[in-house]
């Protein structure tokens, strides 16, 4: 379950698996092993990475992409799709 809810037994639980919180509360960035890093000098601002990101983890700020590492799972699709090869996948040490 997402959030801090603690259930002692079935009586405290809702009938269906529904959370009180929004999906935003589930910070999926913790699942990541490799992280996309954008070389902004190479970036043309075409927004293809923003279009392809399956988790809506790339935002456009001042016409350039910014990765939201709270939710990015490190799938690497942006890196593969970038026509300028401006996104490198870097192993994260945790």
């Amino acid at each position: 379950m997402i959030g801090d809810a603690v259930f002692k037994g079935e009586k405290d639980m809702p009938e269906m698996p529904v959370t009180i919180g929004k999906m935003n509360d589930n910070k999926t960035g913790g699942w990541r092993n490799i992280a996309p890093v954008i070389n902004i000098d190479k970036c043309s601002g075409c927004m293809i990475c923003w279009k392809f990101c399956p988790d809506v983890s790339i935002q456009i700020v001042a016409e350039l992409p910014v990765i939201n590492y709270d939710y990015c799972k490190g799938c690497g699709i942006c890196s593969v799709e970038c026509p300028k090869n401006a996104i490198e996948m870097v192993v994260e040490d945790k």
Binding site: M1, E10, M13, E15, P17, V18, G21, M23
Partner: protein, 384 residues
């Protein structure tokens, strides 16, 4: 007022009277007329519902799931391979606790390609967590759709109303259509406690790990058990409102019977005719019609057949490598109980093969001469 209706149109009028708000369905023989009529009602403005054309049965039920999660009354209808295609979402519906009602026209599974009556389509979905009803006539079809919403919305589990392909779906019978105002009083509008609401966001169908998953399953089982009372109360309510009486089972001349024929759907009506003919020959035979497969009324069935000499169970379905599915259910329900009768299971009428009173009388004679109740099953009408 009595109107002449096919089983399919009885479903459409039942859904209309229940005030369904979203209908998503995909046509399949022999269900097509159900959704044709509903789309016509929506187009003419007789029914204020959103009718969604979808590209498959999988999408049809998915659309109903979304609609039901927002608190809308959702309806779909299908048959045979269409129901099989919904399989994944049948599980989703019950585990998300959504009170969707659907009509399924019982049709054989292919190949051999066959559009006629056979129960293997819905019985293959036995363990998906849906309540299942098997109807004997078109009056019961329209009444069951209306009752199903009341029951499902209390229990928070979906209901599948089953009717025989062609024998009901395309056969016209006089049907009493309940009055709109009375139905509105009988079936209040649906207002779930938890609903999909963009102003109060939640995550639906979220992760549930080993620390909570079992409890969700426990709650579904408990609701199914509680549903037996809800069904009986709703049937009693329905009788007060509309005068027609239903239950989880229907007993025909059982009180003084030595032997009982158990059957479902329209086959039970044929069995009643056979029982009457046998009775005129001096034997005391009764018929027990099972109306609900889930929740399964094992206790009620046991109460009605305990102490009887013999029970014949007629199945228009088969679990390959085992036996008839209703027979298996009844055997499991009475196993080890005191005074449980000898049970003889017969498979007949598959893929729309006609079941006549004579056929059932021959089966009755067969158990007197050559049958052994220890055998799992017999074929009732096979050409060998």
């Amino acid at each position: 007022m009595k109107t002449v209706l096919t089983g399919n149109y009885a479903v459409s009028y039942g859904a209309k009277l229940a005030g369904v708000q979203v209908i998503a369905a995909y046509p399949i023989t022999p269900q097509t007329q159900i959704v044709e009529k509903l789309s016509e009602m929506c187009a003419k403005g007789e029914l204020n519902a959103r009718y969604m054309n979808v590209e498959s049965e999988h999408s049809a039920l998915a659309a109903c799931i979304g609609a039901s999660a927002t608190g809308a009354r959702a309806f779909t209808a299908t048959s045979s391979h269409g129901l099989a295609y919904m399989h994944e979402l049948l599980h989703w519906t019950s585990r998300a606790r959504l009170p969707i009602v659907m009509a399924n026209v019982n049709r054989a599974m292919g190949p051999g390609w066959n559009v006629w009556v056979d129960q293997n389509d819905s019985l293959s979905q036995r363990d998906t967590g849906w309540m299942q009803v098997y109807c004997k006539d078109n009056q019961e079809v329209i009444d069951s759709i209306i009752m199903a919403y009341k029951i499902s919305e209390k229990v928070l589990l979906p209901t599948m109303i089953n009717l025989d392909a062609f024998v009901l779906s395309h056969t016209s019978e006089p049907v009493e259509i309940p009055e709109v105002e009375k139905v509105k009083e009988f079936l209040p509008s649906y207002s779930p406690e938890i609903r999909l609401d963009i102003d109060d966001p939640r995550t639906f169908g979220t992760l549930a790990g080993p620390e909570v998953y079992s409890e969700f399953q426990y709650k579904i089982q408990k609701s199914m058990e509680d549903a037996e009372t809800v069904i009986k109360d709703t049937c009693a309510d329905f009788k007060d409102f509309f005068g027609r009486s239903y239950g989880m089972v229907e007993a025909y001349k059982l009180d003084d019977a030595d032997e009982v024929i158990i059957a479902t759907s329209t086959m039970a009506e044929t069995a009643a005719t056979a029982a009457d003919r046998l009775r005129s020959g001096g034997v005391k035979v009764g018929v027990l019609r099972i109306r609900y497969l889930r929740p399964f009324p094992a206790e009620e069935i046991y109460g009605l057949i305990k102490g009887k000499k013999r029970v014949i169970i007629l199945d228009r379905n088969i679990s390959f490598g085992a036996q008839g599915i209703f027979c298996q259910e009844v055997r499991a329900g009475v196993y080890g109980r005191p005074c449980a009768p000898d049970i003889y299971g017969y498979i007949l009428g598959l893929g729309g093969r006609d079941v006549t009173p004579d056929k059932i009388i021959n089966i009755y004679k067969d158990i007197k001469t050559s049958s052994d109740s220890a055998k799992r099953m017999y074929w009732g009408d096979i050409k060998l």
